[in-house]
Amino acid sequence: MTQTTASSWLTRLSGGQAKQMLLAFASLIALLLVFTLLNPDAFMTKDNIIGILQSTTVIGVLAIASTFIIITSGIDLSVGVLMTFCAVMAGVFMVNLGLPMPLGIVGALLMGALSGTTAGLAITKLKVPPFIATLGMMMLLKGASLIITNTRPIYFSDVEGFDQIALGSLIGDLIPSLSIPNGVLILFLVAAVCALVLNKTALGRYTFALGSNEEAVRLSGVNVDRWKVIIYAFSGGICGIAGLLIASRLNSAQPALGQGYELDAIAAVVIGGTSLSGGVGTILGTLIGAFIMSVLINGLRIMSVAQEWQMVLTGLIIILAVYTDNLRRRKT
């Protein structure tokens, strides 16, 4: 009695994972309902929904990048700053060096992958634990961004069409009443591609295997170090996409930005049911986790809840999410 190949990767989730996903999804719906009831006029408007989608793009992409690392039972503290570094490098390529936009984009993504590779090499070859290696990368990249820009933002005003990457709306061009920004499309595209990679490719299989039992993978004759570097490089490249998104949205590379984003990303991943001890996780869950965070912040803001209290509530939600996840785990 085997499952048929027709069953998609979505249904291939174990019962527990599916339950967690359902729970996360139900929480998201519940949040939407609560805010709609509390702000009948302001919350469920087209503009506000698009605003929520827009504000999730960067954190969503970073969270997806982090999902890979966290499934390997690693952690990446550098994703936020890496995003900024990639934005800065995009500025260097396109503004300072005047390269054409496509080249600049590829260059920025490569810089992300390169940074990921560096972190991966520090972890595998120098045997520095992921927490420390990426903490080091975080400081290093932050310093590098400030040095390269001389602590001043790089503006993309002269790069024609750069702001359209995140802010333009291909959908809006087709259906004028539905002006969903491209950034949102990119987020969903990244999610779809990453879900494919995680569930359908060797890279994804080894991501889960490393988090499940690294030593068993090594003793299976798999080059564990190489795959780990590849996973960090891949994740770094995804951070590069986040960098382009934020640079495009701000139409500038802000070298001091980025720190703190990694924690929001980790929070989204964890709310989405990915286990910090590794071996378990989904992209869809992460996406839901990211939306839960933005809906929460957006809804509270509409209700004029002070920013300090928004933080307090977000903190509580994260702890609650992981607690319910633990309850479920203990039962199974």
């Binding site: 295997a209 068993a216 003793l219 004759g221």
Partner: protein
């Protein structure tokens, strides 16, 4: 059946177990087990691995909860809730793997969580701690400074610290799980002295061991378990063959063992002058196509270390490895797999299986490259197909290919690990404790599988601490002690006695690796 109950004293036994049952997913570990322990006796518990001894003891120690049945302490029924509860009931257990913190001192380990306080409870009273510990050591006549960090002690000494810790709870029931497995003769004598001392104080001791001679020396009664049931309880001076017969029951028939002549076959694996620190010393051996070579020895003799080193899992100081006569450089498991080797670890959960992943992901893990489309995408249809073939061939009992490996029984988990190497078409297979934690039915299936694999022309190395297993499977037995090969015995000449003699030949006159015995 319990031939001794009539001789027992009128007082209730310290512990009495009736009709105790316990199941794990896929395995019935205990089936209506009966057992009793009197004050001041050493009661040996014997049985093959997987017979249920450890499960029974873990229930008494509060690690597992029973499904049904009754446990009485001093005649009163008790529900043992947790390890802490067992401790408060004066039941202590010395696990085979010691649970001490290497960086803390002996005294700190013993009183962990119960440290004496001073200054209104704000400060720890280290002096009192050491005095209390010294008193415990004195009681055991143990010469050991309470302030010694445990990590600096020998395993034997660490065990003494565990015993002292158990006694510090005023333990009346002490369970010892293979306490001598890692001890040398002098250390065993010391342990026995302490056991006799405790006995004289009225402590009841459950002594789990495979070693007949020890049991005859130290135990009063022996209970034999098999397949999760109690076979019988007999006096410890019952003749050894009788006890063995009770223990091994149905499957240990030497008569049907067939040793094929493989002397003309190609040498698939040859190892020369392997050295690694003090754990592997000058080990050389070879394995031919179709041959099953057994590695016997006590725990810590270096057998696993040899297998891991040959497989590239641990680095070597010196040594040559030849596969099919060609010298190969093996720096990682990856190299070993490329050379056609596979290694089944003694510790499935840590080294063998990715327990959180499903059956088919585990089966195809080493060979994943072959199941990719365009070198990137998983070819799920092919993965299904090859996994299904293996599930059928090895008769792996699993509800589906996407079942999480953790939920399979031990025997089926082991088959999954074997399957992953079969898919990879390995010609040289190391089986390290292939039947550890596996029930008897699955065990004989695994034996049959190993014999088939050899018959198909593979070279098989079996490492086992169970001598009957080594005897049953091996065409040739190599015995190790303290990192050296102390002897080689042809399969048909091997007996428990001559293997055990070699396994305890410590720092002998360094017999050449291939010296025949007797």
């Amino acid at each position: 059946m319990d031939s001794l109950s009539s001789q027992g004293p009128a007082v209730a036994p310290l512990i009495s177990v009736q009709n105790l049952s316990k199941s794990f997913p896929g395995v019935k570990a205990l089936d209506r087990v009966r057992f009793d322990l009197r004050a001041g006796e050493v009661h040996a518990l014997m049985g093959e691995n997987g017979a249920g001894k450890s499960t029974l003891m873990k229930i008494l120690a509060g690690v597992y909860r029973k499904d049904s049945g009754e446990v009485r302490l001093d005649g009163e029924p008790v529900e043992i809730q947790s390890p802490a509860h067992a401790q408060s009931l004066a039941i202590g257990i010395i696990h085979q793997e010691l649970h001490l913190m290497a960086h803390l001192t002996a005294a700190q380990n013993i009183f962990l969580g119960r440290e004496p306080r001073k200054a209104a409870g704000l400060l720890l009273d280290e002096d009192q701690l050491n005095r209390d510990t010294q008193a415990l050591f004195d009681r055991l006549h143990l010469v050991l400074a309470p302030t010694t960090p445990v990590g600096e002690l020998t395993v034997a000494r660490q065990q003494m610290v565990e015993i002292a810790k158990a006694l510090s709870f005023k333990t009346r029931v002490l369970i010892m799980d293979e306490p001598t497995a890692a001890l040398n003769n002098a250390e065993i004598e010391e342990l026995f002295r302490i056991i006799r001392k405790l006995k004289s104080e009225g402590v009841g001791i459950v002594y789990i061991s495979h070693k007949m001679d020890e049991i005859q020396r130290i135990a009063d009664r022996v209970t034999v378990m098999r397949d999760g049931t109690t076979i019988d309880t007999v006096p410890a001076d019952t003749p050894m063959p009788q006890v063995i017969a009770m223990m091994v029951g149905r499957y240990l028939e030497h008569a049907d063992k067939h040793i094929p002549d493989t002397s003309a076959n190609e040498v698939l694996l040859e190892v020369r002058g392997l050295n690694r620190g003090r754990t592997i010393r000058d080990v050389s051996f070879s394995v031919r196509r179709g041959e099953i070579v057994g590695f016997a020895g006590l725990m810590g003799a270096g057998r696993t270390e040899v297998a891991r080193a040959v497989f590239g899992a641990d680095p070597l100081d010196a040594g040559e490895i030849l596969v099919r006569g060609q010298r190969v450089r093996i720096g990682s498991p990856q190299d070993a797999v490329r050379a056609g080797m596979g290694y089944l670890s003694e510790d499935r959960k840590h080294f063998g299986l990715a327990t959180g992943m499903d059956v088919e992901s585990n089966i195809t893990l080493p060979s994943l490259k072959r199941w990719l489309k365009w070198g990137v995408f998983l070819n799920r249809a092919a993965i299904h197909q090859v996994s299904q073939q293996m599930v059928d061939k090895l008769r792996i009992k699993t509800p589906s290919l996407t079942q999480t490996a953790r939920l399979l029984s031990g025997g089926n988990q082991q088959k999954v690990v074997i399957a992953k190497w079969l898919v990879q078409d390995c010609e040289i297979l190391f089986f390290d404790e292939p039947t550890r934690g596996i029930d008897v039915g699955a065990k004989s299936e695994i034996y049959k599988l190993l014999i088939d694999l050899a018959a198909q022309g593979r070279a098989i190395v079996v490492i086992s601490s169970e001598l009957p297993e080594v005897l049953q499977l091996s065409h040739r037995v190599l015995v190790m002690c303290e990192g050296r090969i102390t002897g080689e015995v042809p399969g048909h000449q091997a007996t428990q006695e001559n293997l055990m003699a070699l396994a305890t030949r410590r720092e002998s006159a360094t017999a050449p690796a291939s010296a025949a015995v007797h």
